[in-house]
Amino acid sequence: GAGVSQSPSNKVTEKGKDVELRCDPISGHTALYWYRQSLGQGLEFLIYFQGNSAPDKSGLPSDRFSAERTGGSVSTLTIQRTQQEDSAVYLCASRIRGNQDTEAFFGQGTRLTVV
């Protein structure tokens, strides 16, 4: 596709349920990132993929959060047993490669509301 695509755009879930958020990066981009944008917290890094491997998971807030990437393309962020503090906009970004001197392109995000 022309840009980074995320689905769903909005998700409302009950506390305790699991959710899956999907990211389709720009074709050919080997580096993929998940960030979280919370009110008052700004944008926080969650995880970085290079191909299908995740060499940096340092931003995942708890073991309820996991992510995978398959075929060097689509990535899924899974949150188990959601809590109200998980409510945020989850952003995905991709770069042509993981080196620092390339631009990251962002998707429109998934707004997650846990009720």
Partner: protein, 115 residues
């Protein structure tokens, strides 16, 4: 830990006023610096970036930023704002030595331009 600080959280200007948004970071090594903008209802877009060379960088829509290494700063400027500049602005940094390219963001500055 590396951090980015944006001093102005909410700025209100009239059209044609000049803009300067502050950004300071806390990392002593080589850095790459970015300003992203998020217009209402849209995804994050890159305004400008600094990797090396001339510390005064020009971006899209008449924006520019100056990297002052001694002050750990990368302030964003525009001589004359327009109503269409109303948006949220994020400063971001990654370490030049990083092989992940992950971005550390400031908390954002909301700019409201009155017509």
């Amino acid at each position: 830990a590396q951090s980015v600080s944006q001093h102005n959280h909410h700025v209100i200007l009239s059209e044609a006023a000049s803009l300067e948004l502050g950004c300071n970071y806390s990392y002593g090594g080589t850095v790459n610096l970015f300003w992203y903008v998020q217009y209402p209802g849209q995804h994050l877009q890159l305004l400008l970036k600094y990797f090396s060379g001339d510390p005064l960088v020009k971006g899209i829509k008449g924006f520019e930023a100056e990297f002052i290494k001694s002050k750990f700063s990368f302030n964003l400027r525009k001589p004359s704002v327009q109503w269409s500049d109303t948006a949220e602005y994020f400063c971001a940094v990654n370490q030049g030595s990083s092989n992940t390219g992950k971005l550390i963001f400031g908390q954002g500055t909301t700019l409201q331009v009155k017509p």
